[in-house]
């Protein structure tokens, strides 16, 4: 899919309030943001700056309290719970800090899961899941359960699961937070590679500048607002 003229993600004056009355907490105070298709974005900022809230909204897991969120031109803030679930199923892939694979379930079956919800027939599921495992270099490990895999391998299975549906956007929430620096670089290279070859838009939350350096765009959050946006065209990747 070629990058279109209008950004794939548009936030306009997005606010988010948790709680009510005097204990209410305003996590986002009017965020404006455009993300172009095919970009590799790192989201940074101290805790409580609103980066996680923004990611939840971008991941269609949460809805803004006010403002507009357009994903591929669709007003997500107007969608219901199930419509957002279908949006996630079709266009989004998730990678979490804690891997979040199903226990006692083989790598292959974990990767298959999104396809199962999509209703793909068995053979197509198998093939797509194996292809995804191949992309992350774990084809040989397809029948291993998470307990039998290292942290780095588990995260790669999680990435395979996120990309198996050929999503438009991959959301990664501190994907290297639980890994040592060597594994972290491997994961980052994998993400960079996917971004480049499969044209997947990558949104990644991180607080490590080393990891953020792999991104093309770095968005800094502070106190519920976008503080600044750095653009540097993939200088670090060797």
């Amino acid at each position: 899919m070629a990058a279109s003229d209008s950004p794939i993600i548009q936030l306009r004056g997005v606010t988010k309030v948790y709680g009510e009355g005097p204990t209410a907490f305003q996590a986002l105070k009017g965020v404006d943001l455009d993300i172009q298709a095919g970009d590799f974005v790192a989201v940074m900022g101290p805790s409580g700056s609103g980066k996680s809230t923004t990611m939840n909204i971008l991941g269609c897991l949460d809805v803004p309290s006010g403002g507009e969120f357009r994903f591929k031109g669709v007003h997500v803030e107007r969608l219901g719970r199930d419509e957002r679930a279908l949006l996630r199923r079709k266009y989004l892939g998730f990678v979490f800090q804690g891997f979040n694979l199903l226990a006692r379930t083989s790598a292959l079956e974990n990767v298959e899961l999104p396809l199962l919800y999509r209703g793909d027939p068995k053979k197509a599921r198998r093939e797509a899941a194996m292809a995804a495992l191949d992309k992350v270099g774990l084809k040989e490990w397809w029948d291993h359960t998470p307990a039998e895999l290292s942290g780095g391998q588990q995260q790669r299975v999680a990435i395979a699961r996120a990309i198996v549906t050929n999503p438009d956007v991959l959301l990664a929430d501190e994907p290297t937070g639980n890994l040592d620096s060597e594994r972290s670089v491997e994961i980052m290279k994998l993400l960079t590679d996917l971004n480049a070859t499969s044209n997947i838009t990558v949104l990644m939350v991180t607080h490590e500048p080393d990891m953020a350096a792999f991104a093309r765009t770095i968005i800094h959050f502070k106190d519920g607002l976008v503080e600044r946006i750095d653009n540097h065209a993939a200088e670090a990747v060797a």
């Binding site: 897991l61 996630r88 199923r89 979490f96 919800y117």
Partner: protein, 401 residues
């Protein structure tokens, strides 16, 4: 969606075998208990009915004394005499036949093998009163009956034990030292609440009275009633005749009792049915408890699997799919439990039926009902936990530790 959630449910169940087994244990026990109880109850009722039916329908049993027990104070009421038998046959309308009985026990010897059994002295009327056909040979002839000759008709147990199932008619037995020709073999009646009915030798009553009991007393009369006549009427007439003959006057109670087999049948059926219902009710409670067990484990499971649910929701599962998966898990579990329970029930029945001296029955109806109830339990008790799982917020669920 149905197929997907079914696959997911099956995977989840077999991935956690111990949890699944513990969840279904209550259902297994409940279904097994209900089905086994109902099946055994029905078998017992049927056996009791068969027992009574084997005594013949429209048969009255007349014994001296009140009720079954012979105990209590006072002199023992006298047994009947041959004249009583004749009087009933002659004076009461609607009586087809009256068979007197005199009983004794004896040791039977044939070619060095011996067997202890019951000797039943009667007349050919015995075979008119009740349906008990011979498989070979014949009943007594007139001369044998009147002279009380040493001939005998043997039950199947005697044939099995003394003749090893071979031909017995024409052979000669020694019964308490008396030489006796075998003239007939009775068909099998089988085991029952009254003991092995085939463990018996039938001889002319005069022979039994002369050689075994040593008197002319008759312990029991079997009266065949013509079905055209009103049974109660016939019974009342017999009572009248016997009171006269035994000189019981005024308000004095009878010193004999008349049992109607139809009555016994109804009473026995009533008792066994009631017992079956009580035991089934208790078993049904255990089935409901089993359902609550499923709900408990499913609720715990929802909490324990919160993160898993979060993953599924994030990946793009719709709430109704999560609901369906959990509901499906509960239903599949309870159905599996139901199936295993049915299997256990059949094993229990197969194991217990011989001990209870009833035959193995397969009751399709109760099996079907029990299975449907277990499925229903899955739906009912699975719904609440499933709804809870489906209503989880994906963000909170993912953050759950």
């Amino acid at each position: 969606m149905f197929g997907t959630t079914f696959i997911l449910a099956i995977r989840s169940i077999f991935r956690h075998k111990l949890r699944s087994f513990l969840t279904t244990l209550g259902i297994i026990i409940g279904v097994a208990a209900v089905v086994a109880m109902v099946t055994l109850g029905k078998a017992t009722t049927k056996a009791a009915q068969q027992q009574v039916a084997s005594l013949g329908t429209n048969v009255l049993q007349i014994r001296p004394g009140q009720g079954f027990g012979r105990g209590g104070g006072g002199p023992r009421p006298p047994d009947f005499k041959e004249a009583d038998v004749e009087a009933i046959g002659r004076q009461v309308a609607g009586v087809n036949a009256v068979a007197p009985q005199a009983q004794s026990t004896a040791t039977v010897i044939y070619q060095g093998a011996n067997w202890s059994t019951t000797i039943n002295g009667t007349t050919n009327a015995f075979f008119q009163v009740q349906p008990w056909p011979l498989v070979s040979g014949r009943t007594f002839n007139r001369a044998e009956e009147q002279a009380g000759k040493a001939v005998c008709i043997i039950g199947n147990t005697i044939r099995t034990n003394l003749f090893r199932g071979g031909e017995a008619v024409g052979e000669r037995l020694r019964v308490n030292g008396v030489s006796c020709d075998v003239i007939g073999i009775l068909s099998t009646r089988g085991q029952g609440g009254f003991g092995d009915q085939d463990d018996v030798i039938i001889m002319p009553i005069k022979q039994v009275q002369r050689r075994f009991t040593g008197n002319r007393d008759i312990r029991l009369m079997l009266v065949g009633v013509d079905p055209v006549y009103d049974g109660a009427q016939v019974q009342a007439s017999i009572q009248q005749v016997l009171r006269e003959r035994r000189q019981i006057t005024g308000g004095k109670e009878d010193d004999f009792n008349i049992f109607d087999t139809a009555q016994i049948s109804a009473t026995l059926t009533g008792i066994t049915t009631l017992l079956t219902q009580i035991v089934t009710a208790v078993a049904a409670i255990s089935l409901v408890v089993g359902g609550i067990g499923i709900m408990n484990i499913m609720l715990v499971s929802v909490t324990e699997r919160t993160r898993e649910i979060g993953i599924r929701l994030a990946i793009g599962a719709v709430a109704s799919e999560v609901l369906m998966q959990f509901l499906m898990e509960a239903v599949v579990l309870s159905c599996l439990g139901g199936l295993v329970g049915l299997l256990v029930a059949q094993l229990v029945v197969i194991g217990l039926a011989p001990l209870m001296q009833v035959e193995f029955l397969f009751e399709p109806r109760i099996n079907m009902i029990a299975f449907l109830v277990s499925a229903l339990i899955g739906v009912v008790f699975g719904y609440f936990p499933a709804r809870r799982a489906a209503s989880l917020n994906p963000i909170d669920a993912l953050r759950h530790e």
